[in-house]
Symmetry: C2
Subunit: 236 residues, 2 copies
């Protein structure tokens, strides 16, 4: 049974790395007696190294008395995923993350681990890979993955860091909503726009919106819909 | 010899479609005695149809006494590119544009036509394909092209609709500059950030910045550089 936290962002404005998630993480990790997390640093935000990124994650988990090991330090990363009781995939560039997961043939082992009940925390790019494909990422395609397919741990796509249109904006680039509308010209998959501070708490068959904000649901050929915290996305 | 206008955007705030480019287009098309433009509508902004998009382009070129034909109306689009004296590729979604060009095997014919002296106008996505690859697009990867390679009609990449960081922004998503920095973790290609209203006027071996704004040059492992209108990018 699935046990996941799928967060829009690792960090909310004016707060430390993973700080706003500490209460829920503490509860979930302690409840399951987890003292070790396998970290997937492949998204490399700002191009930092796997070691640097793992140190950053380790520092945040230290407060929870949980140790962190980077997947890049294992000779057999597939086995590391299989054996893990908790996995955290950090944010950064989704293209680079997905490229690495496909190159190392880790996408399906990751899916399998999640469905086998391994606790999974995703933030930003790490949440994008919970959906069916990475076609609703906001990231720049700085590298070319062999496929855009992701784990399908949930039955819809995430748009992380969802932003409402900026009023009176003079910039002519597309708004986030316009981009997702373009996605639906070519795809019928439902998209959940998660605002920064929101996360989806997946517990078995429930997928509940948590955090202070509403989320925006985009469906093909249907009006967009705002849903309140407590909404169960499994009903989609 | 190349004869191109590579524009950041089709439309500047408060102005009509292609309106700010009318003087330069009028000059260049009249000088070459061009009365017909082949339009590539594949980027489909907002998912509009090829016909709708071609009508929009035709309306803008009407004022210049130039007729527009959509490439999708030709039985042999490769031949249409080969025979064209002027080609315009409109903006929209770069992934969809690049997918279509590769699926129809038109990327190299387009490159060849440009180097043979066919006048080329690109706006936004249509400018992105002038670079070496599409890895610096801002667009959402709504479809999966078979390759990210583009025409290489210029020896660097474009970042269209370039935006400076917004001061005091509380949003935690990456700035444009941070995204291009991530591109340079994995690529050494130089990137030109073109602000809306700027365009590159390519005339033979010269590639001159035109319009009211500076452009921002991003090189791998070098400080970013602002250059003034009149700068020749061929020196990069």
């Amino acid at each position: 049974m699935r046990n996941m936290i799928i967060a829009s962002t690792s960090t909310i404005y004016g707060s430390g790395y993973l700080e706003y998630l500490t209460p829920v993480l503490s509860k979930r990790l302690n409840a399951a007696g987890i003292s070790e997390v396998l970290f997937i640093p492949f998204a490399r935000p700002g191009g930092i190294t796997h070691d640097e990124y793992t140190s950053k994650a380790a520092k945040a988990f230290e407060k929870l008395d949980v140790s962190v090991q980077g997947i890049h330090t294992f000779q057999n990363p597939g086995e590391a995923i299989e054996k893990a009781t908790a996995i955290f995939t950090g944010g950064g560039n989704t293209f680079q993350l997905v490229k690495m997961l496909h190159d190392l043939e880790l996408m399906m082992p990751l899916r399998k681990a999640i469905y086998n009940g391994c606790f999974y925390l995703g933030t930003s790019a790490g949440s994008n890979i919970c959906g069916l494909n990475m076609k609703t990422t906001n990231d720049m395609p700085v590298v070319e993955p062999q496929s855009f397919k992701t784990t399908g741990a949930i039955g819809y796509n995430i748009n992380a860091h969802y932003q409402d249109p900026i009023e009176n904006d003079t910039h002519m680039g597309e708004t986030r909503e316009e981009r997702i509308k373009e996605f639906h010209v070519y795809n019928s998959i439902t998209v959940v726009g998660l605002r920064e501070g929101s996360y989806i708490d997946v517990n078995g068959s429930e997928e509940i919106l948590q955090g202070p904000h509403q989320a925006r649901i985009f469906r093909s050929n249907t009006e967009n819909q705002e849903v309140d915290p407590g909404f169960n996305f499994a009903t989609l």
